[in-house]
Symmetry: C2
Subunit: 159 residues, 2 copies
């Protein structure tokens, strides 16, 4: 351990990140999601797309905005989903430059399986906490983040 780390960490938790480093925790949470998604053969970006389309059809530019990626990345991500029949591409009638994306029923099933896999893995990890009430609290408070994202996007959209 380097000097900075030694100064930051309490003596009885020598292997941990510094206290309050919740950014690193979020990074590990991400890895756990990836591991769970691998069981249903889905990547993190694909899971995000399916989740967005679960709320209704969306054109490429809307997906690119919400995913915070470039349009060419949307093409790449969706290519795989279309090839597997999880998403349908369809032309937009009044503006034929645009391409809309629709979740197929098979896509909905895979999305549900993905939700189950991810939630199951995260719940397993939460149960490692000694206090069962803390496990519940850890899970429930991800719902707080869900609300935060909703409010955040609403605020950004209103700008």
């Amino acid at each position: 351990m380097n000097a900075e780390a030694a100064a930051r960490n309490s003596p009885d938790t020598p292997e941990s990140g510094r206290p309050g480093s919740f950014g690193r925790t979020a990074a590990w949470l991400a890895k756990q999601v990836e591991i769970a998604l691998a069981t249903v053969d889905l990547s993190l970006p694909q899971y995000r797309v399916l989740g967005l389309l679960d709320a209704g059809p969306a054109v490429s530019s809307a997906l690119a905005d919400r995913l915070a990626v470039r349009p060419s990345s949307v093409t790449a991500i969706v290519d795989g989903l279309v090839a597997r029949g999880l998403v349908d591409r369809r032309a937009v009638v009044d503006d034929r430059r645009r391409v809309s994306h629709v979740l197929t029923s098979e896509g909905g099933q895979v999305l549900a399986a993905a939700d189950t896999a991810v939630e199951g893995r995260l719940a397993d990890i939460a149960r490692s906490l000694a206090d069962p009430s803390q496990a519940t609290r850890a899970i429930d408070d991800l719902g707080l983040w869900q609300q935060a994202f909703r409010d955040y996007h609403a605020a950004v959209a209103a700008r």
Copy 2:
């Protein structure tokens, strides 16, 4: 919105994921971390490596285990960090097949900047919550997950 989604969502939140879909929330949390890390020119895997090395030097196989990736992926991730002078590779004296990795002081500085960037972005989003006490709770409870990972790894290591 498809029929399944319509059935799951409450009428006043038509654009949201289904209630309790905390797996999707974790997936979006991951994206926010990536966006923040881009400001310090770091990827999510690189951020995880720097965080691990902050606790002390580690050989490739140990990093592969903790990162849940194959050894060749460790080589690829670390290559970029070594090229930037954030990590040093060094031979292990008593077993020269092994390669140890050490966080440089510049690496420690970039890691600190990354922590600041990620925590700042997540805090911004949490502040979108109407109730300020909920923002605090959302942030604090990521610390609960930090503890959960610690306990989970301890349990896995003890197997």
